[in-house]
């Protein structure tokens, strides 16, 4: 095995192997100890339940995914715009930062019922919850990034009489990219958590509902394997979002930034 192959195995093979070992241990433990399915279903039963309810779970999954991605997109737009505003104006930052911080530190499940009353729409509530938790990491990290541009380079841009727009485009935005990507990786996972939290509180029923509503339903009916099936989809979605943001970060930064340096 060459060194490069060994590296690829360490990166992809080891995590895969550890997950397989974990699932196998779970399956064996459930069978050997005769744990009833209403306490802890075996992975094989969860997979079977997932296959049996595939169509309905996919509909819910599609809802969850759409709302999560929409909230993430809105969080990126809002976070980046406000970070740019803060970077250009300290006064704006002083005036608005308290609101951003209050929104960030107030637990989302405590705001959700209020949002439900205010918007009278479960979709709007879920979207707002997901947006709220994702917004702050993007704002904070982007702002740090925008301020991290090299002081000498800033001087150089001044000397060469760059306009504000040129400075933003050629210096501040690329300099902010690594921090922004960190924010995005955090926000990606948080959006899903916010979406699920929002769905729990909004407690929506009917067709336009996501995986969290399936989990709630299943728990009311004590269909524990179905709960686990929906939960598995939530977890896989989170993993997929994480892998996608990590891959994006690697693509954009690999050549020049140390955070994505491959040895």
């Amino acid at each position: 095995m060459t060194r490069a192959n060994a590296g690829a195995f360490t990166r992809a093979g080891v995590p895969t192997l550890s997950v397989i070992v974990f699932l196998a241990a779970w399956e064996i433990a459930v069978r050997a100890l005769h744990i009833p399915a209403y306490l802890l279903p075996a992975p094989s039963l969860i997979a079977a339940t997932l296959a049996d309810n595939f169509a309905s779970l996919m509909t819910s999954w599609w809802f969850t995914l759409r709302v999560t991605l929409a909230a993430l997109a809105l969080a990126i737009a809002g976070g980046v715009l406000i970070a740019a505003l803060f970077a250009l104006s300290r006064t704006a930052e002083r005036a608005l930062a308290p609101f951003a911080v209050v929104l960030q530190v107030t637990p989302i499940v405590a705001i959700a019922p209020l949002l439900m009353i205010l918007t009278d729409s479960s979709l709007a509530t879920v979207l707002a919850c997901a947006w709220l938790v994702a917004f702050f990491p993007i704002l904070a990290n982007t702002l740090t990034g925008l301020r991290s541009a090299d002081a000498n380079l800033r001087d150089l841009f001044t000397l060469y009489r760059a306009s504000r727009w040129q400075t933003l485009r050629h210096l501040l935005v690329p300099a902010a990219l690594p921090s922004f990507m960190t924010g995005l990786r955090i926000a990606g996972g948080l959006t899903l958590i916010g979406e699920v939290g929002g769905e729990f509180v909004a407690g929506a029923a009917g067709r336009d509902t996501g995986l969290a509503s399936r989990i709630l339903e299943a728990s009311f009916r004590t269909e524990i394997p179905k709960m686990f099936a929906a939960l598995t989809l939530v977890a896989l979605t989170g993993v997929a979002i994480y892998l996608a943001t990590a891959a994006l970060s690697r693509t954009l930064l690999a050549r020049w930034h140390d955070s994505e340096r491959t040895p």
Binding site: L156, L159, P174, L177, R255, W256
Partner: protein, 259 residues
């Protein structure tokens, strides 16, 4: 040096105090003529870099007068101690930055960048990113970026301070050739900040010795044929000049010691 009534750059009784009361320059008067190569030599914190920032227009005096007899659209070639490159951009894109910012593009831009990269010996590295280069090569990119605007004034803030001696010697030579163009144009003016006596003597026609807090204590005109070639470093006269300047610096350090 014969001072004409209008020098290219002149500082007259300039004082620069930063907010918080730190005194960078106490009282500095200095004239720099067109085509001159002047080094500012002195211990850390004596205000050398502040003088450079004032000359560039990045900073202004607290009191005293600063005059700059430059064309209104003239931009000095400014080189920092670290190369100050955009890490995300290739050597080519870093080099073309000053031109891009003033809206140039196309074939002329490409040709100017190629010429600048060749002049600093980086003709083959245009597509590399800074991380893939050595410290000396990064500094060459920094020089190329300044060169691409064909500046009439070079402001250099300890550009080679972090490099090993061999690279430093090579870049000293490169810098001299950049300031003394061979295509018939008159030589550019250069103000060079350094810690190194040897570098100051080798490069300059005049060495200005500074001391804390922010004042000029001595000026030594290096009265030798100019521009210099590498052989000058091994002559007894070079050693004698270094001893002379070193002595001035020694006195400056004593004079500038904390009272």
């Amino acid at each position: 040096m014969n001072h004409s009534p209008t020098s290219l750059l002149s500082l007259s009784h300039v004082r620069r105090e930063f907010p918080g009361g730190r005194l960078a320059l106490a009282d500095v008067s200095l004239r720099i003529e067109a085509g001159e190569f002047v080094s500012l030599l002195g211990p850390s914190g004596c205000g050398k870099s502040t003088v450079l920032r004032l000359l560039s227009g990045l900073d202004s005096p607290t009191s005293g007068t600063l005059t700059r007899d430059l064309a209104p659209d003239a931009v000095p070639g400014y080189v920092f101690q670290d190369a100050a490159l955009m890490p995300w951009a290739s050597v080519r894109r870093n080099t073309e930055l000053p031109l891009t910012l003033r809206g140039e593009g196309g074939a002329t831009l490409h040709a100017k960048v190629d010429a600048a990269l060749r002049a600093v010996g980086l003709g083959d590295s245009a597509d590399a990113v800074p991380r893939e280069l050595s410290g000396g090569m990064r500094m060459r990119v920094s020089l190329a970026r300044a060169l691409v605007t064909a500046p009439r004034l070079w402001l250099l803030d300890e550009p080679f301070g972090a490099l090993d001696e061999i690279t430093r010697f090579a870049l000293n030579q490169t810098l001299l050739s950049l300031c003394q163009p061979r295509d018939g144009t008159p030589p550019a003016t250069a103000v060079f900040v350094t810690h190194s006596v040897y570098e100051a003597v080798f490069l300059s026609q005049r060495v200005v010795v500074m001391a804390r807090p922010g004042r000029i204590v001595d000026e030594v005109a290096i009265d030798e044929p100019y521009p210099r070639d590498a052989g000058f470093r091994t002559t007894p006269r070079f050693t004698a000049w270094c001893a002379r300047v070193s002595d001035a610096l020694q006195r400056a350090s004593v004079a500038g010691a904390p009272a």
